[in-house]
């Protein structure tokens, strides 16, 4: 049972991260009006962001919830909660979850408010995510005694 749950957990993580990694780039690219569009974002860009938002809500968000539910079950079932590597991983995943919420809010605001432009930090969001994923992978696989 534990290995099945772990397999589903990893699947959910992959789907969640796939959705999150590309979203800051798309927000940074589509969320700023082109030079010839004036101060407000064009309809084409908003429509494209609407598609991104729908996929984010339908795929990445449920995947995040499944990741958390299965991960917490495994942590309790296997008694991982007392290990420092899991505490470190949890701290990073809480941060990723908060970022997930921020990106979701930005997508909603960009598709409903034509005057809103993507904040400049979204340009660095993807790189920050990749670094977090690398650290989490090291913690999970090596399980270092911190």
């Amino acid at each position: 049972m534990y290995l099945w749950v772990k397999a589903l957990h990893v699947t959910a993580v992959i789907v969640w991260m796939a959705g999150m990694v590309v979203t800051p780039l798309l927000i940074a690219w589509l969320g700023r009006p082109a030079a010839d569009e004036g101060a407000e974002m064009g309809k084409g860009r908003r429509a494209a962001l609407g598609i991104v938002r729908r996929h984010y809500l339908v795929l990445a968000t449920p995947a995040m919830l499944i990741t958390w539910a299965l991960g917490l079950w495994m942590a309790v079932e296997a008694g991982w909660m007392r290990y420092p590597w899991l505490i470190g991983k949890l701290a990073l995943v809480v941060g990723l979850s908060a970022l997930h919420g921020v990106l979701s809010g930005q997508l909603r605001r960009l598709t409903t408010d034509a005057a809103h432009v993507a904040p400049s930090w979204t340009r660095y969001g993807t790189m920050a995510l990749v670094i977090c994923i690398a650290i989490i992978s090291v913690l999970v696989i090596l399980k270092p005694d911190l």
């Binding site: 919830l65 958390w68 909603r108 605001r109």
Partner: protein, 107 residues
Amino acid sequence: MNEPLVEVLRNPIARLRWAGYFEGTTLILLLGVAVPLKRIWDMPEWTSLMGPIHGFAFMLYLVLLADTASGAGWNWRDVGRTFAVCFVPFGTFFNDAFLRRKELNPR
């Protein structure tokens, strides 16, 4: 709140309020029931049950707070206040009036 469930799910602040009820309730059950059962009556299985449930509720509250605040452009004071209350028993319930005012006046 008497709105249909679909309307609640579509409204960011309504979602956050419900998440606050859930998080607040699990915190009270964890600290007020499960921990005493573990410490006083040596029944640790209840913290093993309530701990992860509260962890999930906390995460859900955090994500919906980030979503709501980012989507509506909240200031950092409002974000900090709404985040801090989830660590205090009954905090999210006391903060519900603030969120209700935000729902009526989004900015």
